[in-house]
Amino acid sequence: MSLGATSTNAASNKSIPGQQVGEDWLYRAQRALTTPMPYLGIAGIAMFILFWYLTTEYFKLPRFVKLPGPVEVWTEFTNPDPIYGTSMYTFDYYKHIAWSSLRVMLAFALATGLGVPLGLYMGWKKKFKDYVFPIIEVLRPIPVLAWVPLAILMMPGREAPIIFLAFLAAFFATTLNAMLGVESIDESYFRASQCLGSTPWNVFKRVVVPGALPDIFTGLQIGVGVAWFSLVAAEMVSGEHGLGFLIWDSYVLSQYPVIVIAMVTLGLVGYVYSLLIRIVGRSLMRWTQKGQA
């Protein structure tokens, strides 16, 4: 959102008592947390866990018998003195989460910081797009795993290749969505802005960026998702910490319940990330919500 817009927003908010602003914020946070989790969703998850329990622990079906069941995983996870060394009471568990989170945050920040401006510029200046777009379109379909050898050759140390791989996947999503966002802005807004006396910088700041914002945030959501899954792939190949490493290491050491603990953790952490982005996006784009002012 543009500077002018935020400053007038702030000015107009002054008339509202502080408490009301607080309540409004609380209300929105609460709604954001509750809406994507209706009762049917909870029932669905319960059924899934039941299926998992029946196949692995109750009927012990042929191909499922080696898999850890929900009861086994839960007892391991809540065990203060875990058999395989990883549970909610061990420092190790949180260390792996922190490592992965840190890497994703870095990769995601890079993908946002480089991809969004690049995409915006591509969408805005057709000539620039003509240069850059073909390269991106050729590189984009290459699976992240195919980049592993080059990443290790190119990047110094152990950390850089992993972050690079997570960055790469997210980068395409953030760039292309920002570009599409600009292209979806109606020509009449550019005309109006121009005829009201905007400089090119004004057009960029007040039309291109806010107009593309909904798509930018779609890109960020997708970006953070793909950053997570390419990160896990990278950690499996070359890493000594992180949830991906934990999964692979537990597989090698036959510590099967830990695999599932790490997987579920990945799911939850990934969900939290995308929820955070959604909340930020919503607060920046109040104009897309009808009936709210």
Binding site: C195, L196, R286, K290
Partner: protein, 285 residues
């Protein structure tokens, strides 16, 4: 602001022609079109659909260049788009990501020529005039169609342009809203006296608003008749039934009917509404 603002904005359009490429052929849209917009006056341009009215507006605004001919405003030739010639579009072009107020102050804010306080005072005044005071912090999607057009008028007016270009700004609104909009618009015009060119295809709207009514030919467009409308200002809706008004309407419709028929025969079905309006008049008379 008093009527003295009307001393600027005299526009002279001299012999402009414009054609578009359609396949290998050149389709002329405007053919040696001449017109003068007297400073501080409200000129209304009416003509059959597809006669090049929008093209003329685009050229005046600077979005398109004529193939030949010249346009001057207060003696200086016009170039690209600029805030001294403002367009109010057919479709609303309010920025959906800004509130009504932010939209209205947009022009002066980016032009950075006036003080913030002054801009905000002006904007508050305009919001009052167009009846949107309570909607200043709403986003365009929360406004009705009529409110959006009014906000758009205000957004253009605040720039005190030398020339206001209005390209069928009330098209698509229902009859009641349209009437209200005409009154809001007149209130703004009669208050500020900015030179304005208002394009429409509604004869009643045209006569009700105009100081001068320009009638345009079928494509390729050219101004074929300039009719001064001497109804007194401020205009009120009751004038729509005066004998003077009906005389204007009859005269204009006679000419337009002929042009509409030409367009009709020329393959444009868009002129049907004029033919219809004309025939309706016959039966009433």
């Amino acid at each position: 602001m008093e009527k003295s603002a009307g001393s600027v904005g005299k526009v002279v359009v001299d012999n402009i022609s414009k054609s578009y490429d359609v396949g290998r052929l050149k389709e002329p849209v405007l053919d040696r079109c001449c017109l003068t917009l007297p400073a501080g006056q409200l000129t209304v341009l009416i003509g059959p659909s597809g006669c090049g009215k929008s093209t003329l507006i685009n050229i005046l605004a600077g979005y398109e260049k004529p193939d030949s001919g010249s346009i001057t405003i207060d003696g200086a030739p016009v170039g690209g788009p600029s805030s001294d010639r403002l367009v109010v579009f057919q479709e609303t072009a309010l920025f959906p990501w800004m509130t009504t107020f932010e939209n209205i102050v947009y022009g002066p804010t980016v032009q950075r020529e006036r003080l913030r306080d002054e801009i905000e005072k002006d904007a508050a005044g305009l919001l009052e005039t167009v009846g949107l005071r309570e909607f200043r912090n709403k986003y365009p999607s929360q406004l009705s169609g009529g409110m959006q057009r009014r906000a758009e008028l205000a957004r253009a007016m605040i720039n005190q342009p030398r020339l206001m270009l209005l390209d069928e700004p009330f098209r698509g609104l229902d009859a009641m809203t349209r009437e209200l909009m005409q009154e809001y618009f007149l209130r703004l015009y009669e208050d500020k006296g900015q030179t304005s060119l208002f394009v429409t295809s509604e004869i009643d709207e045209a006569i009700f608003l105009a100081d001068t009514l320009l009638l345009m030919s079928a494509r390729p467009g050219r101004v074929i008749k300039s009719m001064p409308i001497t109804l007194p200002r401020p205009r009120v809706p009751s004038m729509l039934t005066s004998t003077e008004y009906l005389r204007y309407k009859e005269e204009a419709l006679d000419i337009l009917h002929e042009e509409a028929l030409k367009a009709f025969e020329g393959g444009s079905q868009a002129a049907a509404d004029f033919v219809e309006a004309y025939e309706e008049r016959e039966t009433v008379g």
